[in-house]
Assembly symmetry: C2
Homo-oligomer: 154 residues x 2
DNA sequence: CAAAATTAAATTGGGCACAATGTAAATCAC
DNA sequence: GTGATTTACATTGTGCCCAATTTAATTTTG
């Protein structure tokens, strides 16, 4: 007893494969995002803001949080750093002071131009057939939907 | 220009699917590991130590780091917390004082007993066919091997 | 309308990740 | 065998994550 147990073997933990690959992929993004002076979570936030489009209704903190599954404890300081860098403005909504609207600045939009090449450069660097990645992405998204659609412990 | 761009759409980023699913799965572990009073990275470290077996040569900090792809900046404080909790001993190797050996204590081995049920309980809670998870894990591991076998930007 | 409940962010605190640097011990090179 | 490298951890500092709490504004209820 109290010895090796295949059930507890690291290589049998689905979680570890996910954890390790996530960090390995993030590490591949790092040098590319360093050119934009963005961290990986900051890049994701900018993607959400860019996605809203310039003309559309600006995103709220909670919109970004819902999209990225992050709460204000993570987002508030991150957004303040992006604001200090001049990439966006955080402003309280006049008719509902609880809400903070996030508006990319001109510099924020200019950064989008530089960011456009990131996905392709990443894919190249990975050295994996795009089809294979697309298939994986579909599966990951599908599983995420399953997890988000069921209670944390049915 | 400077508007929506399918290349930058969040839903097209393989990275985001990986990032979001990893956090969702970790969140599923959290209540189970809370019963053991372990965080998720602490759980992974204990898995490595348990895997070594009680009779075998004890693991070094760098062994755990190599297995989990974590450096001493992450591991040292984490291991100190596990030591404070009485789950392991950190002791310098006599014939090479640079090396720190990690030895699970009796409490550390007892915790393995409680941990044995974690994987099955997690799988149940996910509500996904085990075969599907096994297939995903194979793919994740295969991709991790590819990334670790190639330069960070070929 | 006033009290209670809800909502949106912010704050606080603990614990990862990771880059960069520091420190001491062991090994190598001449 | 001594100086230069290398190795193994530790430390420092920045930036996530997340739980729990707080604050302030809005909405709901009686």
């Amino acid at each position: 007893m109290a010895q090796k147990d295949p059930v507890l073997a690291l290589d049998n933990q689905i979680c570890f494969a996910l954890y390790a690959l996530n960090r390995a992929v993030t590490a591949r993004y790092r040098p590319l995002l360093a050119e934009l002076e963005l961290t990986y979570p900051q890049y994701l936030v900018m993607l959400v803001l860019w996605e809203q489009g310039a003309g559309a209704e600006s995103a709220r903190v909670s919109d970004v949080g819902a999209r990225l599954r992050l709460d204000s404890g993570t987002l508030t300081p991150l957004l303040k750093r992006l604001e200090e860098r001049g990439l966006l403005l955080r402003q309280r909504q006049a008719d509902d002071e609880r809400v903070v609207r996030l508006l990319p600045t001109e510099a924020g939009w200019q950064l989008q131009e530089k960011a456009r090449q990131v996905p392709a450069r990443l894919m190249c660097g990975l050295g994996v057939e795009p089809q294979r990645l697309m298939a994986l992405q579909q599966e990951l998204r599908s599983l995420l939907a399953v997890l988000e659609g069921s209670a944390p412990s049915d």
